[in-house]
Amino acid sequence: MKKYLIIPLALFAAILFLNFNTTGKVQTYTSVTSPGLTIPDDVQKIIDNHCYDCHNANSESEKGKKKLDFDKLLKLKKSKQAGKLSKIADVVKEDEMPPAKIIEKYPEMALSAEQKTTITKWAEDAANSLFN
């Protein structure tokens, strides 16, 4: 009888090691070429409100879409992800993004000092962690 229990128990144990995303908010992407880049909620919120309008797959801004598409970021290979993340940290730190023209028109698009720190710290840490 015990023999028959071993297989279901082993399956149950194996399931425990699978990483299920139950929150539906934290996005993770895992594959051979991309062992995992996570966008925490606070970062995701900033991206959604300040970056995503131009940096998405259906963006009207061809340049914005080409340079960085958040819909694709998690699917890029590690080397590209690292490059994009480092660039994100750079442009936010240097106040190049969001663009001054956009902020002039929509002042609410400007990032606060705290938001800038959140984004740059996440981007740099995430980029560095890809190399570990």
């Binding site: 080409k66 340079k67 080397s79 590209k80 690292a82 490059g83 994009k84 480092s86 980029a127």
Partner: protein, 151 residues
């Protein structure tokens, strides 16, 4: 004003502006942190980088004669200064891996968009213009080289 007088004025201005420093970055030949000196870059790619990029993005620009004659020297000097500030291949090894990945990604974008090399550079450097095949080869290399950072 007589044409002769005007000519003299132009000549005098031309001579005087030669004494205004152009801020031309000096050529440094010994670069222990150089990209090509420290990495096994394929010969054809190294050749393209040298011909199409290194004049503005390294400590080893090959200055043509007009780089010493104002006012053109001012433009050349500015381009080299700005180019080196953006990316200096002579200091490559000193960069963090994430910066290397960033530069390689930016390179592939700018080469693909034909933003680099700058079209003005082709006026006197026709061999620096990259063919579509060369652009493809260079972009492919930036991706392979970026991947190798993870090995």
């Amino acid at each position: 004003m007589k044409a002769k007088t005007l000519l003299w004025i132009i000549i005098i201005i031309f001579v005087v502006i030669q004494f205004i420093p152009s801020g031309r970055p000096e050529v440094v030949k010994d670069n222990p942190q150089d990209l090509l000196a420290n990495n096994a870059v394929p010969e054809d790619v190294a050749g393209m980088l040298k011909t199409s990029c290194y004049d503005c993005h390294s400590n080893e620009p090959v200055y043509p004669w007009y780089a010493y004659v104002a006012p053109v020297s001012w433009l050349v000097s500015r381009d080299v200064r700005e180019g080196k500030k953006e990316l200096n291949f002579s200091e490559w090894e000193g960069l963090k891996k994430i910066k290397k990945a960033e530069y390689l990604d930016s390179m592939s974008e700018e080469i693909d968009d034909e933003d680099m090399p700058m079209p003005i550079y082709f006026l006197m450097h026709r061999d620096a213009k990259l063919t579509p095949e060369q652009r493809g080869r260079l972009i492919g290399w930036t991706e392979d080289f970026a991947d190798s950072l993870f090995e």
